[in-house]
Symmetry: C2
Subunit: 339 residues, 2 copies
C-alpha cells in the first residue's frame, strides 16, 4: 500500500510542506493558524498519512520522546507517577523511555547519555538529590526537564512536588486533637528534599503548638525502607524518651515501625499511634489500616508531563514549579493518647 508523504498532504491541502509539518506535530501545531491546521489534519487523516518519527527525528532532532529517570519502578510510589506521565504524553504523540537507576549516579549518567543519543526532547527526573552535579550541569545547558517530587538546593528547575509542610501540619493536628503531646518523628534520609522538608515541618509544628520540643524525638533513618524504619523505631523505644505517637517520613518507615512494635508487644494504636506518608496502594489493607498523608502520585506525574510539554513549547519562559495539596487519610493506626 502506498503511504502518503508529507509533500502529498501539503499539495492537497494547498500549503507549504513546512506548514503541513508544523500542523501535524502536536508540539508545533500552535504555530499554524487554527483553521489551516484543522484543514491540514483533516487532509492527512483522509490520505492515511502517518509521520515516520525516526526519519523526522533525524531531520529535526525531534524524537517525540522523553526520558524518564526513576529510582525503582518496584517502589509502589512510581507506577502511578509513570501512568500519569504516560496518560498525558500519549495523546499528543509522545512516548517515554523509562530507566531505573536504584539511585546509582553512574547508572543515571549513562542513562542520560543513552537518551541524548536517542535525541529525547526532554527529561523527567524523580531521582534528584539536594545536591546533584549532573542535574545542575544539565540545567546550565538549558536541557528541557522537570523534577518530580524533588527539588534541588541550587538550580531553578521546574518541579512538581507535594505540599509536604501542610501534610505534616495535618498529621500533627490530627494527633493533637487525639490528645497526643509527646510526638516523635522517624525522619527519612536528609539528602533528599522530601526528608528535609518533612523534618523541618515537624520541628516547626512542635514549636508553634508549644509541644515538648524534639530533643531525642527525631530519629533519622538511613534509607526509605521498612528495615530502616524498624531500626529507627527500635532506637526511639530504647532512647527512653517518652512519646505516644510517631509521624513516619513515609509509609515504608511506618510499616517498619509496625514490625518493631509488634515484636515488642506494644499495641498500635492502643499504646503508640503511627502516621505514615504517601498512602501507597494497600495501606488500607495492612494491620492496623494505616493513617497516612496522601500524596496524589498520579497527578504528580500528569502535572510533570504537562509542565514538560510547556517547557518544550516555550523554552524561554521562566521555570514554573507546582505544589500539589495533600490530604490526611484517617484509618486505624491512630487513636486517643494513652493516659
Amino acid at each position: 500500500m502506498h503511504r502518503a508523504t508529507l509533500r502529498e498532504v501539503a499539495d492537497k491541502a494547498g500549503v507549504h510542506p513546512a506548514t503541513a509539518s508544523r500542523a501535524l506535530n502536536s508540539a508545533t501545531e500552535g504555530m499554524v493558524n487554527a483553521t489551516t491546521a484543522a484543514r491540514i489534519q483533516k487532509v492527512a487523516k483522509e490520505m492515511g498519512y502517518t509521520p515516520n518519527p525516526i526519519a523526522r527525528s533525524l531531520k529535526t532532532s525531534r524524537s517525540s520522546s522523553i526520558g524518564l529517570i526513576i529510582p525503582d519502578l518496584t517502589n509502589p510510589l512510581f507506577p502511578p507517577i509513570v501512568r500519569g506521565i504516560e496518560d498525558v504524553l500519549r495523546p499528543v504523540g509522545y512516548n517515554a523511555w523509562i530507566v531505573n537507576t536504584d539511585n546509582q549516579q553512574d547508572v543515571e549518567a549513562s542513562a542520560v547519555e543513552s537518551f541524548r543519543q536517542r535525541n529525547v526532547e526532554g527529561f523527567v527526573f524523580a531521582t534528584a538529590h539536594l545536591h546533584h552535579a549532573l542535574l545542575e550541569e544539565m540545567a546550565a545547558a538549558s536541557t528541557p526537564m522537570v523534577l518530580i517530587n524533588r527539588r534541588l538546593a541550587s538550580a531553578d528547575i521546574p518541579s512538581v512536588t507535594s505540599d509536604d509542610s501542610t501534610g505534616v501540619t495535618l498529621a500533627i493536628q490530627h494527633l493533637v486533637e487525639l490528645g497526643h503531646r509527646n510526638i516523635a518523628h522517624l525522619a527519612g534520609p536528609q539528602d533528599l528534599s522530601t526528608g528535609v522538608t518533612r523534618r523541618r515541618a515537624f520541628r516547626e509544628n512542635l514549636e508553634e503548638r508549644g509541644l515538648p520540643d524534639e530533643a531525642g524525638r527525631i530519629v533519622v533513618c538511613d534509607a526509605w525502607s521498612e528495615e530502616a524504619g524498624a531500626r529507627g523505631m527500635l532506637q526511639l523505644l530504647d532512647s527512653g524518651v517518652p512519646f505516644t505517637a510517631v509521624l513516619a517520613g513515609n509509609d515504608l518507615l511506618a510499616l517498619g515501625a509496625y514490625d518493631t512494635l509488634a515484636a515488642r508487644g506494644i499495641s498500635c494504636p492502643g499504646e503508640i499511634s503511627v502516621i505514615g506518608f504517601n498512602d501507597m496502594p494497600y495501606m488500607d489493607k495492612v494491620y492496623p489500616p494505616m493513617t497516612t498523608v496522601r500524596i496524589p502520585h498520579y497527578e504528580l506525574g500528569a502535572e510533570a508531563a504537562r509542565l514538560l510539554l510547556e517547557v518544550l513549547d516555550g523554552p524561554e519562559r521562566h521555570p514554573r514549579s507546582l505544589l500539589l495539596p495533600l490530604t490526611l487519610v484517617v484509618r486505624g493506626s491512630t487513636g486517643p493518647a494513652a493516659a
Copy 2:
C-alpha cells in the same frame, strides 16, 4: 569535540567497517571472532566512539528498542515484570518502550502501530487474551515477540508463564493437610489463559483427591479486582453450598473475599481459610497475612527479555516457551478446617 566515527574505529583496529559495526552491537557481536571483537571494542572505547542509535536505526532498521505492552502499570504485578525486562535489556544496549492499554484493543492496536513506526525490533505482550486477532496476525507475519504470563489458544508464540497447575496443586494440598474437604474457588475471568488454567487445575485436583466435586463451588468473577472478588464471595456465601476454604484466582480476588468475610462477621481463617495467587507486594502486611501461591514476577520479566533476545538473534529457531515453577507461601489466612 570531534566524535570518532565508525570508520575511524575500523581503520585503527584494522578491520572492515562492517566488522566493526557488528562487534560494537551487542545483538551481532557473536558474529565476530571473540578476540577481534574485544580488540575493536577496546579501540572504540579509547577513541570515545559512541554509536548514534537513531542514525543506525534508519540505516539498518534496527532501533535497539522493543515495545512492551502491559494492561496497567499500577497493577502491582507489572512493576517487577518491567524491572526484570529492563535489567536484562539495558546491559545489552536495548531499551523498552512501555504502553498501558487497560486491556482496550484499540489502544493496543495503536500502540503497536506507533512502535512499528519507531522501528522496534520486537514486542513483549502481557495483555494476550486466549483469542487475540492482533497477536495472531502479528505471529503470522513472523513479528518477533514473546508473551508473558499469558498464552494464546491458537498461534505458537514464545511465552514465559508460571506453572499455574502445580501452584493450584500446592494450594489444595496445603488445605487438605489442614483437614479441609469442602473447598471453593473464586475463579478469574475465563478469557485469559491464567483464569482457565487455574480453574481447570482446581477441578482436576478435586477429582483426583476424591473431594466433593465442584458443583456450585466455583464462582467465575467478572474481573481480576477486589470488587469482583467481594461480589464473588457474596455469591458463594449466599449459594448455601458448604465450604470451609476458598482458593482465589489471584490476590486481588482474595482481598475482595477478605472484605466480604469481614462485612459478614465471618472469621478468617477461623471459619473460612483463604488462599491467594501471585504474592503481590505487601501481602505479608495485610490482615490476616495472606497465604498465597508465589509467582516470580521479576524472573518472568527477565526470562521474557532473554527469550526475545534469542528470537532476535535466531529468528529461524522453533519458538520456545518457558514454564517457571511456583511456591506456596503459608501465612495467616489458612488454618485447620472448622469442625
